[in-house]
């Protein structure tokens, strides 16, 4: 265990970025992000546009009214009785002892399904390790029950060079033409628990790479690294089932995570490939708990996918772009699951990379003159991804699909701290008032 927090590891990265930061500020209109390129159904603006769906549903459950009329001072007398200073004697003589106690939440009766990803040689695969997500009996990091499995981070790899925010791209520029090298760098240098290979070039509107050829990329990645992998399509509902089925076939026995089954494509074909070739399925819906239940039900009942092969992606809308809906959607899903809704008792995954769609994460400066200074975007982007992911970690998310190395490092640091894995010297916080900063 580390004696001190290992943020020093990323300091060097920042040092490198210092120089870049100046460059970034001076280059005008340097917009290098392509939302469509993220593929796999992770379209942040679409997600944000759909975000209000859950809010509309919620509307039906509550009488609406402006919330600004909060009754100030309710419960207190309108005017405090005046105390004559002459009569005021010291009121504080002795401490009145009190014991603090609070019960655990009794309604949390159901455990979230544990889902393994990756087969080691013992499981009939070639992965060097297996990760397990899920298994919680309480909200994440709550004291009611131990959380058996920590959060896991899978770092994205794409099967072609794509447009990325500058702060992200500079970490990958030299490996972007080789998915294998890219995957290796993610594991060896950036400490990825898993790799996600996005086969976006298969999109008929991009390169229309045949499924057979895309499958070779999957093989390349499987050989380059021995961590478990997730396989993402292009997000094209016509092409994805074929692409994922073919990829599943070449990855037979490796227990990959196929991303994604959704209601708008042939989810049965993806489910079938998962069962036949020994993989897990990512069940993806857009910020709608009832749609999530429907898809999970179909995967289980129609397609006979075993419970320990389903992970949900209820959609990540970025901070400032619908995270309020994404957060509450996940929290409601997790709470319903803990209280026994067996159509929702699955671990969750987040396309945290969506945070890079938020303009605060990549834009050179604020488009609005009235805003306080936004500062260098090289520092804004990673923290935007961290806060987006961290919020969802607290809401119940288990697996994070991420991109920026700093974001990965810090998200791991905080989630593993809250998980209880990290020990440090205790800081004497009583001295905070006089601290030299």
């Amino acid at each position: 265990m580390a004696k001190k927090m290992k943020l020093s590891d990323i300091t060097s990265m920042f040092a490198g970025m210092d120089v870049e930061a100046l460059e970034g500020v001076t280059i005008e209109g340097d917009i290098e992000i392509d939302l469509g390129g993220l593929g796999g159904g992770f379209d942040p603006m679409l997600a944000a546009a759909l975000g209000q769906e859950s809010a509309i549903l919620a509307q039906h459950f509550a009488r609406l009214a402006g919330m600004f009329g909060y009754p100030v001072g309710i419960g207190a007398p309108a005017a405090a009785p005046a105390v004559s200073p002459a009569l005021a004697a010291p009121k504080l003589k002795d401490l009145i002892p009190a014991k603090f106690d609070v019960a655990n939440i009794a309604e949390w009766t159901t455990q979230i399904q544990e889902v393994p990803i990756g087969n080691t040689s013992a499981d009939g695969g070639s992965r060097g390790k297996r990760v397990v997500v899920g298994g919680e009996k309480a909200l994440p990091f709550f004291p009611d029950a131990p959380m058996p499995n920590r959060n896991q981070v899978t770092i994205d790899v794409f099967d072609m060079r794509i447009g990325l925010a500058k702060a992200v791209k500079e970490n990958y520029d030299e490996v972007m033409d080789s998915p294998g090298e890219w995957a290796k760098k993610n594991v060896e240098k950036f400490n990825a628990d898993m790799i996600t290979i996005h086969l976006i070039s298969t999109d008929p509107l991009i390169k229309d790479t045949p499924a057979k050829e895309a499958a070779k990329t999957v093989e390349e990645v499987l050989q380059a690294v021995d961590v478990p992998i997730a396989i993402g399509g292009s997000g094209n509902p016509q092409k994805d089932p074929e692409v994922l089925a073919r990829a599943a076939e070449v990855a037979e026995g490796e227990r990959c995570l196929l991303a994604s089954a959704s209601l708008n494509l042939d989810y049965a074909a993806i489910a079938e490939a998962a069962i036949k070739y020994d993989h897990d399925v990512l069940s993806w819906t857009q910020l709608d708990m009832n749609a999530q239940k429907e898809l999970n039900r179909k995967l289980m009942k129609q397609c006979n996918v075993p419970r320990d092969r389903i992970i949900m992606d209820p959609t990540t809308a970025a901070l400032g772009y619908g995270l309020d809906y994404a957060y509450t959607n996940m929290e409601r899903i997790r709470l319903a699951a803990l209280m026994g809704d067996d159509e929702l008792t699955f671990p969750m995954s987040s396309g945290t990379t969506n945070a890079w769609g938020a303009r605060e994460s990549w834009m050179v400066s604020s488009p609005l003159k009235e805003d306080s200074d936004w500062g260098p975007r090289e520092y804004r982007g990673p923290i935007w991804e961290i806060v987006t992911g961290l919020s969802l970690a607290i809401a119940g998310n288990d697996l994070f699909m991420m991109m920026h190395p700093t974001s990965v490092a810090v998200l791991k640091q905080i989630t593993q701290t809250l998980f209880g894995m990290i020990d440090t010297e205790q800081v004497d916080i009583a001295k905070w008032i006089g601290a030299e900063v």
């Binding site: 469509g36 009190a98 400032g320």
Partner: protein, 469 residues
């Protein structure tokens, strides 16, 4: 709140349907009490007539939020913290967004201190039609000298923003209170050593006070209970915020336990909680960017899990911007979409040659589109159609966005496509493509289908604008 149905609140009302509150019936008024859009003082008979006094008192008790609401500061910038009734925002909503106070030290050079306080007070970040702001200044008595502290307080008080006085020394805090009469600062803090003196100060100056016991909830509750019995109502809890390792995990657990106990009815600890992400700067993180990041991470954790007020240090934009956005995110009412006025907006300086677009009045949609256009320097006319605050795709599906509604919106805005512009063309959102034919009929204009995502409007404009004859 001890009750949650209008029927229960109705029992305590006059039940005369007199209408003096502005509602048609007492039952309607009861609903407003339950969802906190109305307060008992809005019912004149209840307040004025002696025979209702007992019912009023009882109703106020039943309606009081589980977590006490505490006010810090005075005047229009005063802030409220606490006041919550639920553990999860979807159950009701979280009230009183987490308040962010940034530190100054009383040994700072005066010019630097004033500059920093002004920076804090002047911070703003535009978001869905308003500005996200910072809330106040925490003055740390680094000098431990009453005279120096009072001088710093005077300087900060001039800016007129809420203050927290930070010292464990009663003499220092007293000097601060004397220097800032009627500013209602929050005193930090009473602990096991100084609680008598600090408690007396809180009583004498009638100011809110923090009780502090690091990682010891029995001691924290003991202090809170002792103060409450002595007549101090405005209490804030500091269970200690450890910046790293098992200490931080313990802190997280403490926050959860305190809030859970409070919501579940333990009134002796049902007070707002203070977090100190500031302690990130004590964790031995050498690089200031990394320390800022860690402070933001701590602030995020405690914005989500029950920190009502916090003291922070880094004013770097990459630290504050996500902090204010997250607080807004967690404290937005999850029950009602935010909407903008339905009308014709000018983006940039549009002329008769400029494109005409429409979108919905759902704030997230509208401001995203507006920002995509303005940030790319596209001068245009942008009509926000009233869809009851619902986004494009859902509104098309649900019938809130139709050709008739769009025509209606143009008419109400007094915008005649045939005279206001010289191209008689409207651009519809890609997600409303199916309205195209209907719109052409209703508007008598040419309708072009724009991209699915407004982020692609600039590229789309290059190819499609001006329209070919």
């Amino acid at each position: 709140m001890k009750i949650n149905s209008p029927l229960e609140a109705y029992k305590y009302l006059p039940q005369t349907n007199c209408g003096e509150c502005g509602e048609a019936t007492c039952m309607a008024f009861a609903s407003k009490l339950i969802d906190r859009s109305g307060k008992t003082s809005d019912c004149p008979p209840l307040v004025k007539e002696k025979k209702f006094a007992k019912k009023l008192a009882e109703l106020d008790r039943l309606l009081a939020p589980e977590i006490r609401q505490v006010t810090i500061g005075a005047g229009e910038k005063a802030v409220n913290i606490g006041g919550d009734d639920v553990l999860y925002r979807h159950k009701l909503t979280f009230f009183n967004k987490t308040k962010m106070f940034f530190d100054v030290a009383d040994n700072m050079e005066e010019a630097a201190l004033v500059a920093r306080v002004k920076q804090i007070a002047g911070y703003k970040k535009f978001y869905v039609g308003r500005n996200l702001l910072l809330d106040g200044v925490a003055i740390r008595a680094v000098s431990n000298d009453p005279v120096k502290f009072a001088a710093a307080v005077k300087k900060v008080a001039e800016v007129g923003i809420p203050m927290i006085f930070c010292s464990f020394n009663p003499a220092v805090l007293k000097a601060g209170l004397e220097a800032a009469k009627d500013k209602n600062p929050l005193l930090y803090a009473a602990n096991k050593d100084n609680w008598k003196e600090i408690g007396e100060l809180a009583l004498e100056y009638k100011v809110p006070v923090v009780v502090s016991a690091f990682n010891d909830l029995d001691a924290l509750k003991t202090l809170a209970k002792t103060f409450a019995e002595a007549g101090i109502k405005d209490i804030v809890l500091d269970p200690g915020t450890y910046p790293t390792g098992k200490g931080l995990k313990d802190t997280f657990t403490n926050f959860l336990k305190i809030r859970r106990a409070g919501i579940m009815g333990d009134t002796e600890i049902a007070y707002p909680i203070m977090a100190l992400p500031f302690t990130a700067w004590m964790a031995g993180i050498a690089d200031p960017v990394s320390a800022s990041y860690w402070e933001t991470v701590m602030a995020s954790v405690f914005t989500i899990r029950y920190g009502d007020i916090m003291i922070l240090h880094s004013m770097e934009p990459y630290a504050t911007m996500p902090e204010v956005h997250l607080a807004e995110t967690i404290y937005t009412d999850p029950r009602s979409p935010v909407a903008v006025d339905s009308k014709m907006y000018k983006v940039g300086n549009p002329t008769a040659d400029s494109p005409v677009l429409f979108t919905t009045n759902f704030a997230l949609t509208y401001y995203t589109v507006e920002s995509d256009l303005s940030s790319n320097g596209i001068d245009c006319w942008l009509l926000a159609v009233n869809t009851d605050g619902i986004g494009v795709e859902a509104a098309v599906a649900g019938g809130q966005l139709t050709a008739d509604k769009v025509k209606d919106a143009f008419d109400k805005a007094g915008f005649d496509l045939k005279t206001a512009v010289n191209h008689n063309t409207v651009i519809t959102p890609g997600l409303a493509a199916r309205l195209q034919g209907d719109l052409e009929d209703k508007l008598g204009a040419s309708v072009k289908v724009g991209p699915m995502d407004s982020g692609r409007l600039p590229g789309w404009m290059e190819k499609n604008w001006p329209p070919k004859k």
